[in-house]
Symmetry: C3
Subunit: 436 residues, 3 copies
């Protein structure tokens, strides 16, 4: 990454709006873990950044799993005896139990009720439910809708296919000057839900588009995958590449109003964990940090013991933590351009750290060098405090014994990473420091 790129401010104007418009564009599509909706979503991403779209046939084994059949849906409804659609897929694709088996027939109300899913505590919201690994059919409806059903029986139609086909995912590599990799992974299998995870798709797409321009030191691998099965399939096909991953983040829920939240990798103190914490601490605004748990998004797979990759997850309100989570209320109102932009700026700060973190060695380790004669220390003495620039210079010189990286110095000094980074550059210019 060139040093200009690390001043990432100039890249951001308009980014929030751009991401929000991309969320809007993808919102109507009915996605699932397989099928045309997911494929169409990848095609739209491909209009922005030339991702590779992989198709993996149904039945392909992937560790303990098997690639499932492809699900495609054309229409779905429940009609009352008067022939009116009282539940209609065209009004919201959440109405169909995601990955539902096809079904047609007249169904008594009491049987229909066994196939309806509601959220009694939020009577106007449609829940998002799935049945990927147990064949079932069903509808998700608001509690009010469910309560209004009075007819003896209903005509049910789920005009869908569940057939051999393929699982589809997208992949894109921005090559760096080394083959060490940074993984950025997002799940693309949710239908019309904005924060979870069109926000993550939009942010990841933006990063993929712009990292190309930055000539990074490390290679950046972007994955657009159906959740769980997608990550498992990718890992099963790319074990060798996985071993090159030095840092990774799972990108999700980055568009809501909640405070930035970081869930640590299984390792707990990996460089990615420290880099994100430093980026968050330096911002000066509220944030939250959670220990690793083996539940959540695809960090579950990346952090499985056989891989144990240093992959955390940087979200706003995390998985399951907001009332609108997995309901029809996770819509275009929940996500805002400003929150997307704010999340992006944290990702950029983290990337700046990952790109520039190195260990330098002071060329003047015995006592301080005389900074004054080089014009980089204020001439007038006697002030009670050193200036901020001077403090960063002194910290870098004092810690640069060859054992401490920029990250170490920023952590110990409690200064911002950027301040340490500026000091490093200044000292290198004055031949007082060199890369270790």
């Amino acid at each position: 990454m060139t040093s200009d790129a690390t001043g990432n401010g100039s890249l951001l104007p308009g980014a929030g709006q751009w991401m929000y418009r991309f969320v809007e564009e993808l919102y109507p599509i009915c996605r699932s873990i397989t099928g045309e909706g997911t494929r169409e979503t990848l095609r739209r991403i491909a209009t922005q950044v030339p991702i590779d779209i992989h198709e993996v046939p149904s039945g392909t084994p992937a560790f303990d799993w098997t690639v499932p059949r492809e699900w495609n849906i054309r229409d779905a409804y429940v009609k009352n005896l008067a022939g009116q659609r009282v539940i209609d897929f065209n009004k919201s694709n959440l109405h169909v139990l995601n990955y539902s088996a096809p079904f047609r027939g007249m169904v008594p109300l009491e049987v229909l009720r066994e196939h309806l899913f509601t959220l009694p505590e939020k009577p106007d919201w449609i829940p998002y439910r799935t049945s990927y690994y147990k064949e079932n059919w069903g509808f998700c409806v608001s509690q009010r809708q469910a309560d209004s059903l009075r007819d003896r029986e209903y005509e049910v139609c789920i005009d869908a296919d569940l057939k051999d086909g393929s699982l589809t995912y997208g992949e894109y590599l921005v090559p760096g000057s080394t083959d060490q990799e940074v993984l950025l992974s997002c799940h693309i299998c949710h239908p019309s839900l904005c924060n979870d995870n069109l926000s993550g798709i939009a942010l990841t797409t933006w990063l993929a588009t712009h990292l190309r321009e930055m000539k990074p030191r490390q290679s950046y691998r972007f994955l657009f995958l159906p959740g769980t099965i997608g990550a498992i399939v990718w890992l099963s096909r790319n074990e060798k590449i996985a071993s090159k991953i030095r840092h990774g983040l799972v990108v999700a829920c980055v568009g809501d109003s909640g405070i930035p939240t970081y869930k640590k990798s299984r390792r707990g103190n990996a460089e990615i964990d420290r880099a994100v914490l430093l980026a968050l601490r330096t911002r000066g605004s509220e944030y939250s940090v959670r220990e690793f748990t083996p539940y959540g998004y695809d960090e579950r797979q990346y952090c499985s013991p056989g891989f144990d990759l240093p992959v955390g997850s940087l979200t706003r309100t995390p998985h399951g933590g907001y009332p609108e989570y997995h309901t029809s209320a996770d819509n275009l109102d929940l996500v805002r351009p400003a929150y997307l932009a704010d999340s992006l700026s944290i990702y950029m700060d983290v990337i700046e750290i990952l790109e520039s973190n190195s260990t330098y060695v002071s060329l003047c380790q015995k006592c301080e060098p005389q900074l004054g004669k080089r014009g980089i220390y204020r001439a007038l003495g006697g002030h009670p405090d050193a200036g901020k620039v001077e403090m960063a210079l002194l910290w870098v010189l004092n810690m640069s014994d060859g054992k401490n990286s920029l990250l170490d110095i920023a952590e110990r000094s409690n200064l911002a990473y950027k301040e340490i980074y500026q000091a490093i550059k200044l000292l290198v210019q004055h031949d007082l420091l060199k890369k270790s």
Copy 2:
């Protein structure tokens, strides 16, 4: 231990009552570090569980110590000039300074006072005092009793022997399938004091009786010893056995209303320390943890630097921590069956952990295994939280890389040990896990 035994609930009904009745039975006996009272106490224990009763002759060396003479007392009193017993051993064996030298004679009041021990701040209570290692005679009385003495002189009689004989202790081994040992040790030298330590004797006896039935993995060694000298004698005669002790607890003060309290071993982070802390944390009620100090009960000897055994002490209110401690108020009212039963249940929880703690290895370390197809993961997806059972399964799978024991997993996941243990059993059944 069979897996049924780890659900120890079924063993406990009636246990509190049983232990309380045993305390009642032993209460009247006048014990000391040697002598018939202690021997009689061991005989009563032997009616419950076939302990070996060892006799070690006076004069036998034990490290820096020597087995003292045997003390036996028949009667003791102080009579006033009217011939009335104003202090009477028959009313309370605490009245005699424990291990007091024999004495007979008329004694002026001012001399008698030098041999009286009182508790001015608790004027109705008799203190418990001893003089094991400096020959002395004396009486312990309430302050009111002492204050009421007005005669010029008194007839004093301590009809006791202090002669060569032996020190007596009890020992019982429940052999396990390995020769690694768990030590459970209690002191038996206190006269009529209930919580300290008839409660400990009763609880230890109950455990000795019932562990026989459990076919434990480890061997359990039960010691019923006079405090300090008994532990020193046992260690001096059993250095080789001591080296097989993997975990140990000193059992004392387990019948009062105080909160459970754990005093850590000298090591501070031994498996016994972690197991007790986990058992206490999981209960959800209040408890207290103290760092090791070289004062207290026989953990002082087990944790001396030449042994440094992983032995802690699990009490309710600890050593010296309640007003009735070492007074006549440590009586049958201070101890209650419910507190004894509650203490026992913690000991059983700890034993469950010590018995079952092992390291397992996941047979599916690369990504999660597909639990759904095995029917051990809920079929309907989309809920904000995993269920509790699912979380335990995921934690076990994620942590079972061969480096983490059940205890490690329970600590990191913050789940109860039993939940982790259930998950382990379920995963072993499904061939997803095996013992490391």
Copy 3:
């Protein structure tokens, strides 16, 4: 150090008064990093303790630095058009920018203002400012003085020399029975400022005077140096000696009313850090601890990565932390004999620890030895607590496995160092302990 010396109370009466009088004596002298004022200060110290006074010629290289020219000043003033001295060096040597270049001439007010330094927020105080490494002339005045200047132009005179000469520092070694060294270093370059650092000079001089009498185990090296350049020059000439320094303290700001404050060495957990913390904790009164930063006094140089010496700084209110810092208000009123004496007593407690800290081995590691038969444990048993003396004995015996020093034992037991030290001596007397 003889064991009597460790009860240091007897050395202190009068010490506060003595130090205060020495501060008074040195107060009027105009010091700088070089020159006669500094030389005269060292001569006064030499009347108390036979320090070596070293002269290092201007131009001598010292790592990245060069010994500067010698600065000597005879007079300095600013006269108004009426010929009155409106700024007068004779009234306060702070009025001249320290190390100011010589200057003479008529100067328009607007030019003069560029050479005046004030403290607007403290309008009656004269600031202390320096210009060592950039040639400049100037005056430091109160804001009120600056505001009162109304004439069109002023006559300026700084009758000073800035010529090749030498840098002067003082050094004194109290040899111990080993050649391991303890460094006590203070800066001597500030003009009429009492707390910073005549207080440090006085305390260091007192210690140098009295440590001679104590026959210490370690050698004590006392340095009286101009700040920064003096420490750098000393280190550049004494690299081999520096490698023998086991502990060190920079002595400064020890006479004000603030609470004792310790700034840790770069290592953070060196023996000196632990010793000072223990001494402070044991006193029972308020104190403050700060992590190392590469700003402050000469610990900056001693803790530079090429040396990384275990040198902290023990002050009262630290560097820059009080309003009077580096102003004319750091005068004889700010420093008090009682604060100097209190600081000294902490230094003496630290020295006691450094002198006596050792590792002992118990000669009775298997179980406790029987202290009672040696008459060093109370005879009457049954008390709820051990006595304080008994606890110290038990802690020492329990921890003395050859791995724990006195400092380790004091830290773990939470007892005072002196209590542990007394227990050590008693156990050595009874042949229960020997030096490791």
